[in-house]
Amino acid sequence: EAGVTQFPSHSVIEKGQTVTLRCDPISGHDNLYWYRRVMGKEIKFLLHFVKESKQDESGMPNNRFLAERTGGTYSTLKVQPAELEDSGVYFCASSPTEVYEQYFGPGTRLTVT
C-alpha cells in the first residue's frame, strides 16, 4: 500500500512569488490534514478536510494560504504571495476516520528568499 506522498520535496522561491504544494493521501482515506513546522518551532495544525469539505481551517495563518481538495482525493496548498516567514516544512497526513491514527507524508521543505 502506497503511503502519503507530497510534491515537491523541496521548493525555493522568492518573496512575492506563488507556490503550490500537493499532497496525495492514502487511497480511501477521507481525512486529510495539513501541518507546518517553522524552523525551531513545533509542528502546528493548519487545516483538516473530510473528503472535499473543509472540516476545520482554524490553523491557517492568513488569507495568503488557500487549500483545496477537489473530488476528495489529492489536496493542494497554495501560498500567494509568499513571505519570508512562510519558510518551513509543510506536512500532510491522512486517516480513514477522525479517531484513527494519522499517516504522515515526508513533507515539503519551502524556502522563501
Binding site: E42, I43, D56, E98, F104, P106
Partner: protein
C-alpha cells in the same frame, strides 16, 4: 485546552544503553497520546499510541511508553539504544473525542546515539 511539553530538545546516549525521552501533557479531556519518530528525509512514523486502554503501551522497534495520569507524563523508553534509533521524536496529545480540539505536537527531541 491541551498542551504538550518535551523536556529535552536533545538527548545523547551510547549504543546499548537505555533511552528515556520525556513528555508531559495537559488536557481538559481524557487524552489520547502518541509518539512519532522522524528519520531524516522521511515522514513522521507512529511509534505507539495510548487511547485509554492499558497504561503501558508497547510500540515498534522495542519502544514503550507509560501513561501516568498522576504525573501527567507519557515518557518514551527503550532498554537498549541502537544506532538506527537516531532521529527526532515527537510527543503528541489529542482529545479525539472532542472535535474542537486539535492534535498538539511537542517541539521534538532529537536523539543522538554515540558509538
Amino acid at each position: 485546552a491541551q498542551s504538550v511539553t518535551q523536556l529535552d530538545s536533545h538527548v545523547s546516549v551510547s549504543e546499548g544503553t537505555p533511552v528515556l525521552l520525556r513528555c508531559n501533557y495537559s488536557s481538559s479531556y481524557s487524552p489520547s497520546l502518541f509518539w512519532y519518530v522522524q528519520h531524516p528525509n522521511k515522514g513522521l512514523q507512529l511509534l505507539l499510541k495510548y487511547t485509554s486502554a492499558a497504561t503501558l503501551v508497547k510500540g515498534i522497534n522495542g519502544f514503550e511508553a507509560e501513561f501516568k495520569k498522576s504525573e501527567t507524563s507519557f515518557h518514551l523508553t527503550k532498554p537498549s539504544a541502537h544506532m538506527s534509533d537516531a532521529a527526532e521524536y515527537f510527543c503528541v496529545v489529542s482529545a479525539l473525542m472532542n472535535r474542537d480540539d486539535k492534535i498538539i505536537f511537542g517541539k521534538g527531541t532529537r536523539l543522538h546515539i554515540l558509538p
